[in-house]
Point group: C2
């Protein structure tokens, strides 16, 4: 037996979906099909959606779960008619908040994910282009403008993390790959020269060698680059560099990009240039 | 008088913050300082945070607002002792959901933002690198592998949108800039040759010329590139190409990257390769 959950919003649906997934993730033994329905911002769209929900109820033989963040009262009234178990975030929490803050709330559509100020937009664009321009050690002369410089072996998660930091928080993150080019004559990894003046900005990523090998194998199967030996050696050298240079670092093996980014911010006290939309 | 809100989580804090900002955005006339406190995953961290919250209450002369998504009961009990107005998402909604689903919920820390399956991780890495490799028309020979090809004039938001689509949804988005290189002998913008075989994958972005000029001015002040004349002409040509070729498009002027991305998905029916973490 499958249940269906609808995450409904008159905006992007990001809040409704994020909350809905968090709540439903606590029910591991129930199979739940999750559908996000953003931009339900007219009565006609709401009525069409009610028809879909009602049909799903018949089909599933169980009422769907409805989690919504719609602020418009008329649209909300239409959705309320759907067959479903309703988790109504706004009406549950806004009333008590109005009392606590001793004021009325303004129900305006899609406020949170609107572009906000021009400053935020520009900061975002700047940060994204900074991450792109300074990806993979492509340039090193802008490191004085970086908020953080991620270091680590190839394919440990530097690029996605830099981009996430830029998009979500406006943090200017460069990233630099640790490779054999930075070995000394004894084959020991040394702090690359271009990074030395910016040691306080460095943040290391490391990863389980087995996982690294799997990731690299997707890219270049059966190569030296993706062999267990090579991966183990690179990871060992990187970690030993972090320790000897007192570079803070985290193991990305079991973490998502969100977790790597937010943990790094929590660990370093790096400040966001804006907040996630 | 300033109020303070704490968004508290034993994971990334993304859900608590997203919901908290959505709720508090409805109170435009109250100045609220918002603080996110992720990874409150030990009793010691929780106790330290309670001290901060209590001090804030004294300082503000008003109790802080506390919005949390902590699942561990012992940590939750500590936070409950803080001076504050509590918006307790999980205890409010999980109990009724347990009844509806007729099962107990598993309170496991940070479930929603955990890395999930290896497949998701690989899809994400692939999509991010696809967006990077196919940014700004750098390559065109991989367009058969693209889920969508964003087109538009320089600085209308193509790159951040491609990256957001990759990171959040695993969508492989290439992007191609419309420039004078693609004008015919009469100075009219034509569909670039490399895009012609992939017309069904094209999605256009457009932007208000005034806003475009402002954005371009940040990059190259007082240039032809950033002049109103040039921006107006480019935008006009791009829009007229979209119309004549029946390329779906949206105006990004007042939209955030989240809005552009989710609207595009809603408009095109493009399917996500995974769901946002």
């Amino acid at each position: 037996m499958t249940r269906t959950a609808f995450f409904i919003s008159d905006g992007t649906g990001i809040t409704a979906e994020s909350l809905g997934r968090s709540l439903l993730a606590q029910f591991e033994n129930v199979e739940i099909q999750m559908l996000t329905k953003p931009y339900i911002d007219t009565l006609a769209k709401a009525q069409a959606l009610v028809a879909v929900i009602d049909a799903t109820a018949v089909n599933d033989g169980e009422q769907p779960i409805i989690i919504d963040t719609i602020v418009d009262q008329d649209i909300r009234d239409v959705i309320r008619q759907a067959t479903g178990f309703k988790v109504d975030i706004f009406s549950t929490f806004l009333k008590p908040l109005e009392q606590e803050l001793n004021t009325h709330s303004s129900y305006s559509v899609g406020r949170t994910h609107s572009i906000g100020s021009d400053d935020v937009y520009m900061d975002r664009i700047h940060s994204v282009h900074f991450a792109l321009d300074n990806d993979d050690g492509a340039r090193t002369h802008q490191y004085d403008k970086a908020d953080v410089i991620l270091v680590g072996v190839s394919r440990c998660g530097k690029t996605p993390t830099s981009l996430y930091l830029a998009l979500q928080f406006g943090i200017r993150a460069a990233n630099y790959p640790l490779t054999e080019d930075d070995h000394d004559e004894d084959g020991v990894l040394k702090l690359p020269k271009s990074l030395a003046p910016h040691r306080h900005k460095l943040f290391g990523l490391t990863i389980d060698a087995r996982r690294l090998a799997a990731i690299r194998n997707e890219r270049r199967p059966n190569s030296r680059y993706s062999s267990m030996d090579q991966c183990m050696q690179e990871v060992e050298q990187a970690e030993s560099l972090y320790r000897s240079m007192h570079i803070p670092y985290i193991d990305t093996t079991r973490f998502s990009v969100e977790e790597i980014s937010t943990r790094m911010i929590a660990d370093t006290g790096l400040s966001r240039r804006f907040s996630p939309r």
